[in-house]
Symmetry: C2
Subunit: 330 residues, 2 copies
């Protein structure tokens, strides 16, 4: 009898516990429903960032932006890069990524055309795909997120004109066929042609995105044309190479170098005066908004409406006057 009473009491308690749990889970359910925003993803949604020439400092901040946005949406990211500056290698990496059918792909194109068939393949398989940093404008990717590179080249030209008092010869060291750099070169050339009649772009050279090649090209052109007073390098590794060539030729006081991006070597060069300026891109934003476009596309948050055709993340001109602020960032 005693035992039975205890059993009853325990059963009664368990029953209340059950009822209580049921009502709790019901409340929890509706609460989740209310705050169950379409903007909250889940960690099984994986978004992949694909670059070329992986491992360089340049991509870090973009990946951080990609990760920060993923955290905002509670989704996962993966980073894949071709180890070398090689079109075929990036194509292979991109093919491998597509085969895994991720929730979306953000790719920075090493070549403005060669990757199009692979990019279009992702699109045709319904995998959201955007371009960041370097566009492939004729591909089927929905959006380009990055610097308006014509505008950046134009800003470099205006800055060069200021350094050179609007007269003198210049050269550009770039990487042909990489669309962002083609545009920077074009923006630089057009602005000088249209607005600075006493200035000239004497040569456009291929630095292969490489410090040593940029150094060699700069040395050669300075030897060939001693009138050159300004060199604009359109990518991150060029400025420090060009600075070495200028120094070796003893022309530090004459030749102004404008670089691109905020690599430590470039910032150091600005600080010690061997590089006159560099154009800072907001690579963090590129990654951040890339993930946004992919997440929205994957979740059909905008029905059948299209995404923006491009997002311009802007540039900042960095000179000796403001260089300190850029060491801490990113």
């Amino acid at each position: 009898m005693k035992k039975l009473l205890v059993v009853y009491a325990v059963m009664l308690c368990l029953f209340f516990l059950y009822v209580y749990d049921y009502s709790r889970s019901d409340k929890a359910g509706s609460a989740a429903g209310e705050s169950g925003s379409p903007l909250v993803g889940n960690l099984s949604e994986k978004f992949v960032m694909v670059t070329f020439q992986s491992g360089i400092e340049y991509w870090k901040s973009g990946l951080k932006g990609f990760e920060d946005a993923a955290q905002l949406f509670n989704v996962s990211v993966e980073y894949r890069g071709a180890a070398h500056y090689d079109v075929h290698e990036q194509m292979t990496v991109l093919e491998q990524v597509i085969a895994k059918k991720p929730a979306g792909i953000a790719v920075s194109a090493i070549d403005s055309e060669a990757l199009n068939p692979v990019i279009d393949k992702a699109y045709e398989q319904g995998i959201p795909i955007v371009l960041f940093d370097s566009d492939a404008p004729l591909s089927k990717a929905s959006t380009y997120i990055g610097t308006n590179n014509m505008e950046a080249g134009s800003a470099a030209a205006r800055q060069m004109a200021e350094f050179l008092d609007e007269k003198g010869e210049t050269a550009v060291i770039t990487q042909p066929r990489q669309y962002n750099q083609e545009e920077r070169t074009e923006g630089f050339k057009q602005t000088i042609e249209q607005h600075y009649p006493k200035m000239k772009v004497y040569a456009v050279l291929d630095g292969k995105g490489d410090e040593l090649t940029s150094k060699k090209e700069a040395a050669a052109i300075l030897k060939k044309n001693p009138d050159i007073q300004g060199i604009f390098t359109t990518e991150a590794n060029g400025a420090s190479g060009v600075a070495q060539a200028v120094k070796a030729a003893g022309l530090e006081k004459k030749v102004h170098i404008i670089g691109f991006d905020k690599d430590k070597k470039t910032l150091d060069g600005i600080k010690d005066g061997t590089i006159s300026a560099t154009l800072g891109q907001d690579t963090w934003q590129m990654g951040y908004w890339s993930l946004h476009m992919l997440f929205y596309s994957n979740r059909h948050l905008k029905d059948t409406r299209s995404l923006p055709s491009s997002i311009d993340t802007g540039i900042t001109i960095i000179t000796k006057e403001n260089v300190e602020a850029y060491y801490a960032n990113d």
Copy 2:
């Protein structure tokens, strides 16, 4: 003894219930933390869209995009417009909106410069402010969301060249000092000058954003220069007015009209052949992404990092071949 046992049993149960409840509320707390996304706002956050010339069909779709994004974030919107096409009236409306300290303001600027002091005032008071549709590029607003209007003008020129077999005289009917239209005009002129040596922009006229004025200006220029074969109108009300002038002059078979936007009158004109084409903007996206930028800015979702400098929402060329699809939309 019996009673004591029951009391013990009940107390034990209550203790377990307490422990269970504690652990549940703990879990619920962390679950709310996980799904308590920073992207879920609250309805007391009010974002305001400010236009000029309110009440016209043109703004509807942009406001819908603004509202759709507000629903996504669970925040409120309000729509305020100057009743007339009047700079001072828009300035007054904007001042009134700022005085209420809303969570953010999206403004389409009637004038590319005159509004700057009022826009900057919002910025200085810490109220997030963006420009959509028509920019004020020298203001302190963070982002421009809308059509890349240089690009749109350029697309209109290419389309006109196709209609005119790349030869003949053209005119532009626009509204000077409204930045989006200045750019469309400039994009049109530059593209014709640079790429179509047998074409010419004979005149750029002020249609005052008005059907009747556009009709009068078109009639006058067609009388003055009978060689004109193409007229590009850079805003929504122009094309139908120009079509009336062309018809009255009996020149329907000779003069091609390219309009802007997707107003019913324009689409009807394309359908019946009096208007050759129009450039469709994605105004829904302008409102949609404007609210995004304001929400992110208001909630400091990106720390101290800046927003994109611009978002290009793209254009579509609408001709007789695809016009039907645009009646249903928006």
